[in-house]
Symmetry: C2
């Protein structure tokens, strides 16, 4: 960026005229290089993907370069190249979806095309093109219309396209080509070679799994909501702390922008879920992983982000001098914000580590308790007791009210992720500390005191090696062992 700006300075300087053009050109080149570097660094898998496409194309070119292969397939080798170019997608799921669609559609349309061609030859010299024309028109029209069906559009759009293409090619070119069966055979095998090359390279070299990406996206989005709520708690209710914390949180304001990308994640989520549906078992995900559940969670996350958007209007509207009432509701409001942030963080962590979210429920309960505390403050403090201007307390009331909505939303998100956890058999959490505790338990130097069947919470007392009485109830510090 420094180079960029220095170049701009030069070009606006006295140099001018003809000399300015190469400078501008240089600046443009530098800008492109910087941009390219950034795109590559943002996701290095993009570089790998590009090289994979290059490799696949080079490999299928051997159908032309090697004499024995060329003798076998002839010009049909170009269908392998064509297949690689149009079928190789960024994610494994995308590539698989296109390959399977292309394969089946070619097979079906090829067979139908040959049948249509055979039928047409029965109509004699003059009737053949007429009947072929009618058949192509009817099939192309109905197939194109089918692409408007949402279910077909979502998964088989490419297949229908290839179906129209292959049927037309086979039926129409069959009118002029005599050895249509041999032609169809050659094309199908080269298409299969191209598709197989793509699948093998896509899966074996640095695979990009749509499922894994969707999974990470879900966790990241929920984390962004958590970051906002954490930051908001500090930002809106910071007047009670020292001034330093306000200044610090202003530097961190980029946290308050993260939720915006959650609002726009719908399209990405849906396409990833569609691609993930095609993917075989990979990593921790089985073939029938409940991808749809991520979409449900996504809808709820966006709803929550919407409430957060409403909240942002009030970030700068806290009173300069907090009133008595304001001080009273401050504590539960901060608690609501922080506890809901913790709940979301636990949920995001649970998704990330594929563990059962156990602490989220507790945090939701805590935030609900804070909400009730806020409500009871409202109930008990009859307005006669409040000495302030209503206008001053309105922002705080609105913020608290929206926070309560956010808590309801988070409860739904929590339910949805619990459902996801059950459907995909997430294991129970086993953090290193907890494993250490488990080892201690195993060696008999800690004694379990309480087992909660639902979450396999094991509250423990940790005894010192000398077995003195200064035991620490780990439960209070949230250090329960998840089995």
């Amino acid at each position: 960026m420094e180079i960029d700006s220095s170049n701009q300075e030069k070009s606006t300087g006295s140099g001018g005229g003809i000399k300015a053009i190469p400078r501008k050109f240089k600046a443009k080149v530098v800008e492109i290089v910087v941009k390219t570097k950034k795109i590559g660094q943002d996701d290095p898998r993009r570089v790998a993907h590009s090289a994979k496409v290059g490799l696949a194309l080079t490999l299928v070119s051997f159908l032309y370069y090697f004499r024995p292969l060329y003798d076998g397939f002839g010009q049909a080798g170009m269908w392998a190249i064509l297949t690689v170019v149009v079928v190789f997608e960024y994610t494994v799921g995308g590539t698989l979806s296109k390959c399977i669609n292309r394969g089946f559609a070619t097979l079906l349309a090829g067979a139908l095309g040959i049948a249509a061609e055979y039928l047409a030859t029965l109509c004699g010299e003059n009737g053949e093109p007429v009947l072929l024309g009618i058949l192509v028109f009817i099939l192309a029209t109905t197939s194109t219309f089918m692409r408007f069906f949402p279910n077909i559009k979502r998964r088989y759009d490419y297949g229908v396209l290839i179906f129209i293409l292959t049927f037309s090619l086979v039926a129409v070119s069959g009118y002029r080509v005599n050895q249509i069966i041999q032609l169809a055979h050659q094309r199908l095998s080269t298409i299969l070679i191209g598709a197989a090359t793509c699948i093998v390279i896509s899966i074996c070299i640095c695979p990009v799994w749509a499922g894994q990406d969707l999974h990470n996206l879900a966790a990241t989005n929920i984390e962004k909501l958590a970051s906002f709520l954490e930051g908001f708690g500090d930002e809106f209710f910071s007047f009670l702390g020292d001034e330093g914390s306000v200044v610090a949180s202003k530097d961190d304001k980029f946290f308050l922008q993260g939720y915006k990308s959650v609002l726009n994640a719908k399209a990405t989520e849906e396409s990833l879920a569609n691609f993930a549906w095609w993917e075989p078992a990979h990593g921790c995900f089985k073939f029938h992983h409940p991808w749809k559940q991520y979409l449900k969670t996504g809808v709820l996350a966006r709803e929550c982000a919407c409430h957060i958007e409403a909240l942002t209007s009030y970030i700068n509207s806290r009173p300069q001098v907090p009133s008595e009432f304001y001080r009273n509701i401050h504590q539960p409001c901060v608690k609501m914000s922080l506890e809901s942030s913790k709940a979301l963080k636990d949920l995001a962590g649970a998704i990330k580590n594929l563990t059962h979210p156990c602490e989220a429920e507790t945090h939701v309960k805590n935030s609900k308790a804070a909400a009730n505390e806020f409500k009871s403050i409202l109930e008990n403090s009859s307005l006669l007791a409040i000495q302030d201007d209503v206008q001053e307390i309105v922002p705080a009331l609105v913020v608290a009210s929206i926070l309560i909505n956010i808590i309801n939303c988070i409860e739904k998100i929590s339910d949805s992720i619990h459902e996801l956890s059950e459907k995909s058999h997430f294991k129970n959490a086993n953090s290193p500390e907890k494993q250490q505790q488990k080892q201690l338990l195993h060696r008999g130097i800690v004694k379990p005191i309480n087992i909660d069947a639902n979450c396999n919470h094991v509250a423990i007392e940790i005894h010192g090696k000398s077995e003195d009485n200064s035991s620490v109830q780990a439960t209070n510090k949230g250090e329960a062992v998840h089995m």
Copy 2:
């Protein structure tokens, strides 16, 4: 639907066994027919589009059917079929974008491919495939990486794809084909024939303009927001009216759901705007119509929809027995809601009719005045004067506060649409009534009393034909004439 349910009843009846299968099949067929009918009726242009694709394919098939054409192009005729299938999009902009991308990419890649082939022949028998392989790898890799650049992805993604395809095909198949120039010429001309067929049919038969669709979408979305605010005003503040109005509004609750589609319109808007960029002048839209401005408006509309989403939580939380304070703030709140609804309706109407939105500003001002009225009620009614429970008034305070945010949002939307109106030279409003008034003005039986230079507002007095003194100040009823 009736047929469907009766079939379901039958299949769950005692029939069972083998007979149940045809029944289920029949029910499935009926379901598909109903679905097909619905998709066709929702947008009849879909049927037209399907027929257009069928027609285009049948037309390019003549390259095979007609002997003279087949003698000219031979097997290259299949490129025309291929082009039609992959290039024919639903909107004119989509088709044009793909055709232009395909044309230029083929030309450029074809030339580069021939050059690469020539270069490779210089390396001798053994060196040729090696150099070709290296060139294909480098070009495919860099081009694939270029597809990750957002600007290229948005407009030239298809072009880059075709570039890789054509370069590989020409360079690699050039290794085996001697008359490469003739081959390239044949392919290019058939691709041009296919593309030209698509463009002509797409534009001349029932054209679907992406620009027009984007324009309509913008208007519809703003109208949906307006409908919500209108309905919300009735719904939330209806206790003061008679009970009948509450029941009626409950039947109309689907109005309260419309805003949800606004939240999800981003992807559609962006793709339409991209396609619209390629479209020539059509209807009231010039070639350089400011399509980007629709995206800006869309962002603001979604922001507004987000606030509305926050508002929906309070629809059912109005108190059963309205308190004194509640009654006080009722009037300005209803006014805020209704005036902002009117402002949005005027803005939507302005987009629809391509007229300058003049009344919107007045309605925004009115709603702001109502907001100020609400604020002054808050200021003046010291809380000591309020005899109620705070908890009871919190929903109303929150709703009013969110409504104020919505008004700010609508002001931004209004500014954005004013900008759009200026950039695309919308004409000033001329509704039939206003034209009538203009005629009356022309015939001298109405007398202008006030001209507002900004909006060309002409407040008028309408005199009866007998010129008596019972003149009506049309301004009060919003019947100003827009020139």
